[in-house]
């Protein structure tokens, strides 16, 4: 049976590696294969940097977050469990956590306020593969779902997820009870889930 991890000669060239799925590549990363890691990096670095830039709003900090995140991925590849989600989700989860760590080292005032403005270094992603087009569709649906929320719900989700703010900080900033903030987060996420095609739960 054809083993996708190994060519006829036993070599695993970069060309061969690029046809492998992320999950197969992670098996090689776990074994210390730098070429396999390079493919993983190339597939997800743009998304990682985009998230880091949105959260950090400072290029040097975002670069540090991306660098730390991918080195962490390289050194802890064994932790990846495909049952808990895709490699992309896992990678972006690491980036999100690292960015939150970085943001919380700064004062709230230094972090700035999340808005649709402020990304000064907007650069178009270089490749537009079919997968990228599919991801753009997904992104459009997601933005529609987020923008379709009442402003008070989308705002707390953005401040929390992209701004790295705690619910307490958001409550203070908006002069709103903590319980209300948590409720808006839950309601907003639930509505988005329904909008994205999972109507399993009725939203009040």
């Amino acid at each position: 049976m054809f083993n996708p991890l190994r060519s006829a000669t036993g070599e695993r060239s970069a060309g061969h590696l690029r046809v492998l799925a992320d999950e197969e590549l992670m098996q090689l990363v776990y074994r210390g294969n730098a070429d396999a890691f390079e493919v993983i990096y190339d597939r997800h670095a743009d998304a990682a940097f985009s998230l880091a830039m949105r959260m950090c709003r400072q290029r040097s900090l975002a670069e540090d977050v991306v660098q730390e995140s991918f080195l962490s991925l390289w050194r802890s590849g064994a932790r990846y469990d495909r049952k808990r989600g895709s490699v992309r989700t896992w990678t972006l989860g690491i980036v999100h956590n690292r960015a939150i760590d970085a943001l919380r080292r700064k004062t709230v005032r230094d972090r700035g306020v999340v808005s649709d403005e402020g990304i000064e270094e907007r650069i178009p992603a270089r490749e537009r593969t079919e997968l990228e087009f599919a991801r753009r569709d997904e992104a459009r649906e997601l933005r529609d779902a987020l923008e379709g929320l009442p402003e008070e719900q989308s705002r707390v989700i953005e401040l929390a997820y992209f701004g790295g703010m705690t619910h307490i900080e958001i409550a203070t900033m908006l002069d709103t009870p903590v319980g209300t903030i948590k409720g808006r987060m839950r309601l907003g996420l639930t509505k988005m889930r329904m909008a994205l095609g999972d109507p399993a739960e009725v939203v009040q």
């Binding site: 210390g32 890691f37 390289w74 802890s76 932790r79 929390a160 997820y161 705690t166 839950r186 996420l189």
Partner: protein, 239 residues
């Protein structure tokens, strides 16, 4: 976890799942909720439901190209570490130790088994009082099992960095892993590292030190472990 556990009456039950998946709980709350999840099926279900949306949020941001310099830096480190692993493996295999020989490590670490008696020396820098706590760096001298090894945990704004010197190379096909001890339990981190030829390393401790009693380092099989498989070689008590 038994039903008598006080965590079963966690105050945020039923309402903290959304801030949890968004990363909006404080570090202490996050850890408490994580523990609560182990005993609350309702919250676990809520988290699973909402996490699907939270995990998709990165797709909503404008897509940028990652700078080439970052790629260069990351790949330079990765390739160097990959080569180091390859170089070490044959040498290691030629004098491979049997499982029982891991005892050397355990023996060395025995001094550290008195971790409970660790006396952390805390040196507060930046003067005493007057300035903001976030501007202080605390240096905590850690217990190190290696005879000539030293390690210091630098704590600033609730986050830590381990500065290590004179630590032996990790055993064959092993790597050093950083652990956080909370409530008597060692929690794994994604900080895995090797030391330089001189035995030096500087390692950022992932996450917050809130609620952490000690930062520890063990030697683990390559790729890391989810539970420690050897006794710690470094223990830094965090008050």
């Amino acid at each position: 976890m038994s039903h008598d556990d006080p965590q079963d009456v966690y105050a945020g039950c039923g309402e903290d799942a959304a801030p949890y998946v968004l990363g909006a709980l404080t570090d202490v709350e996050h850890e408490a909720f994580r523990v609560h999840l182990e005993s609350c099926a309702i919250c676990r279900e809520e988290v699973a439901s909402l996490a699907v949306v939270a995990h998709s949020l990165p797709a909503a941001v404008p897509q940028l190209s990652a700078p080439g310099e970052v790629r260069d830096r990351v790949m330079a480190t990765v390739k160097a570490e990959a080569e180091l692993r390859q170089e070490r493996t044959p040498r290691v295999l030629s004098r491979r130790l049997g499982p029982k020989h891991t005892a050397w490590r355990l023996g060395l670490a025995s001094a550290v088994t008195t971790a409970a008696a660790v006396i952390a020396i805390v040196l507060a820098l930046g003067g005493s009082g007057g300035s903001h706590a976030s501007q202080h760096t605390q240096l905590i001298r850690a217990q190190v099992s290696a005879p000539r090894g030293t390690a210091t945990l630098a704590v600033s704004a609730g986050h830590g960095q381990l500065r290590i010197a004179g630590l032996p190379q990790s055993p064959p096909r092993h790597i050093y892993e950083v652990w956080l001890e909370r409530a008597g339990k060692a929690h794994p981190t994604d900080a895995l590292f090797t030391v330089s030829v001189a035995g030096n390393a500087t390692v950022a401790v992932p996450g917050s030190l809130a609620g952490v009693k000690a930062v520890m380092v063990t030697a683990e099989p390559e790729g890391g472990s989810t539970v420690p498989t050897s006794k710690p070689v470094i223990v830094a008590g965090v008050s």
